[in-house]
Symmetry: C3
Subunit: 341 residues, 3 copies
């Protein structure tokens, strides 16, 4: 399917700058552009690419003014990133081959009802008493343990493992290799060895959550480990037992949260961040990559470093550490000068 810049602009409420008749039929990053492709410019760091991109049409911000001639046709929109997302979403939905039905061989315990519009891939395992919502997509090699509940429209990608008794809400996307409901890490030291503390709780994942590949979410010792609605977790994250991650909180890859820590809603957590156990992170907290969070935070906190401190303080201490050699030299000079007085 091809659209002219003019047609596209009409669909998305944008303003054309340049040739309105040029057509696009595919997508490309602005730095990898080619004729016939639609690109976008959202990150100012990439602005210099706009002058040489081979893409035919580029979405830009309303207030974007090129400093030099641009070969591509521009379409000005409020938010280029959101707009391209919207277009991609439309195209994806139009072109997706919807999986449906039950592939063989699969294992579906007696009494489990598979809704008519659902998909259960080959080698998937659906345990006893599982409840599947309308339109769920259970890809091949997924394991859903006894008594789990999977909400409407949720997608479990190939190889996801959900231990018995866990609940996943509606419209969630769980990527391959994710483990939901494995035992929390709880042991009591007894006479020089460790006795296992049974982990009798479960995991509850609310609606509209996305969880990245190979992330692990342990079941609670008692009660529930909880991922609240709209939270987005990247790949290879560890969520320990009895934690909760608040609504619309986003966590980047390889972050790890120790037991019973509660992360508020609307937080942004950088990659490889670690949290100690038993703390509370206030709503809207922003945490820089690789930080080590050892204390609870107030709502809206912005922290960084290991141990994590307020971002301004972190930046200052970096500056002072850089100045250390000159401070040492200064000190030596002073000492010398003092001796001569």
């Amino acid at each position: 399917m091809e659209l002219t810049a003019q047609q596209l602009a009409a669909m998305i409420g944008g303003e054309v700058v340049g040739n309105p008749d040029v057509t696009v039929g595919t997508f490309a990053k602005i730095e990898e552009g080619h004729p016939g492709a639609l690109s976008f410019l959202a990150n100012p760091k990439y602005t210099h690419f706009i002058y040489d991109t081979e893409s035919s049409v580029v979405l830009v911000r309303r207030d974007f003014e090129p400093e030099r001639p641009v070969k591509a046709t521009l379409i000005r929109v409020e938010d280029p990133y959101a707009t391209i997302a919207h277009i991609l979403d439309m195209v994806t939905k139009m072109t997706a081959v919807e999986k449906r039905g039950i592939e063989q061989p699969s294992y579906i315990a007696e009494g489990v009802e598979v809704p008519a519009d659902a998909y259960v891939g080959a080698f998937a395992y659906i345990g006893a008493g599982v409840r599947l919502g309308a339109g769920v997509k259970i890809y091949p090699q997924v394991f859903v343990g006894d008594g789990c509940v999977i909400g409407d429209g949720t997608v479990l990608n190939p190889g996801v493992k959900v231990y018995a008794g866990c609940e996943i809400g509606a419209r969630c996307i769980i990527h391959s290799g994710v483990v939901v409901g494995s035992d929390g890490f709880g042991f009591a030291p007894v006479d020089g060895h460790y006795e296992k503390i049974p982990q009798t709780g479960n995991v509850v994942i609310e609606d509209d959550v996305e969880i990245g590949a190979n992330t692990t979410v342990d079941r609670a010792m008692m009660g529930s480990t909880r991922i609240c609605s709209g939270a987005k977790l990247d790949n290879l994250i560890q969520i320990a037992h009895n934690c909760s991650v608040g609504s619309n909180t986003v966590m980047a890859a390889q972050a790890g949260v120790a037991g019973s820590t509660k992360i508020g809603s609307g937080c942004m957590v950088g990659g490889q961040v670690g949290f100690v156990g038993h703390i509370e992170i206030g709503d809207g907290t922003l945490i820089g990559a690789q930080s080590g969070v050892s204390q609870s935070t107030k709502p809206g906190a912005r922290i960084m470093g290991a141990p994590a401190v307020e971002m301004g303080e972190y930046a200052r201490s970096l500056v002072y550490v850089k100045r250390l050699p000159s401070m040492a030299a200064q000190l030596k000079a002073l000492e010398k000068e003092l001796k001569t007085k």
Copy 2:
């Protein structure tokens, strides 16, 4: 099943403080208590919850004296955490639906004997020459490569992968997504590219080991990578080729150990800690979260930081870095003063 506080106290050798006739039939964290629930108080940080918890009964330490009236009935015991673990364990064993038998379709190589009390789930793969101990539980979608040995009572959760030739002892619990015996990361640089060093060894996991979800343990180049008896590994940990992890050592999530490093027994390793290769960590070493361990340690060492140093030294250097701005100001003042003399 419901028990009165009095009955429970009799079972566990505790002393009742408050109404002995109140009944419990479920468990809850003290901060999430509700009527009819049994809770425990082990971490002093949670003491304030005892005054308002809705739980009917709370296990506390022998020497616990409330500062204000407590609504719940208390049961005083030596070690509340170990006691709750014990109770949970009894209940889990009483209520667990024991999996048994061979589900179809599964793949069991010719000649492999499956003990009568074992479980082999659907889509599990048992290679040629595998030896399975009594009562093993092989969950769905597990892979056990040719020639592996799995000890009595060991549980391989859904999707565990064990490469050929590896050995797992008795009473181990291996969680979903764990990979045992993948090739160690060994390459020799030859003319600007890398040639693979074949990894001809295996992995040996001794008895009573628990390994968390998505952790990886690479096979040895020669000989064995070894996880010794009673060691407990959390989720998403990396154990490289030819490492060993000592008896009853516990490692928190996302720690990583580079090749040939030997960790002693009874160590405690924090989350996201990294170890360089070819070092030896003494028995009983304690390592703070996110540390970077670049040198061997003596038995009983307590270290932290990156590069890791003795914990006292780490704490001091944090204090001094915090004092840097005032030191710089002091230095400037001194310089000025000196000029005026």
Copy 3:
């Protein structure tokens, strides 16, 4: 099979020092040596083991001169590590039981051709339109999504998941639990929640790449996430959408690369290193373990720390931080002295 030291030396072009008639039939690390075993000494740190090793033959460097008598027969070669790798490789190839054919049950979409010398294990899933190269080995429980291309001689170990539309080159080795082509982590904030940005690109893995267990490589938002020929990735690594990893670059376990970052060729990346998004790492860059890389680097850079700086600068700042207590004392003394003048 047993060989004398003399025969072995003739095969590998080495020079025998000691008894040429002693025989070896197995391999062992020098520190775990036993009679009949062949060992090697490459890392100087292990030199002291040569005087007591029980191994019968040890490969050493041409210029190695023992300081005391050695019981084992030595064979002097140019590069002991490369030589042992070569020997192991020959032995592995001679003794390997080559897997071939199609095990049942497996799922192979209609129209997919499986080459005669390929292996498809039980419970493997091969989607529609997949193209399989000669001699591919698809182990049990692997998922290969619709439209993927797998090159000649490539091995997908048990449980690997490759999402639809991805391409893997020739002679690659992908270890268990690896996820290729999961959605990149892209969301647009809209009215306090996040809308998913469809990830419409794919992953391209070129020839001779090895990827370690449970590593994740996300598909591009547009275009391709790319792992270039000869790159070697260890376990539990995260490669985000639209990244590229250059030819013959090696990355140690648990490293993570944020979106759109391009890593050059011939780089060496330590364990647990993190990269921010949208930067470029020059060819031949060397990055110390646990570094936090926040800026682009020039070719041949050697960096370390978080934020990462040139290695010399990193080492100096460590030294100065160590000197802080004495600097503080010096400062205090100066102040006192100044007062008395």
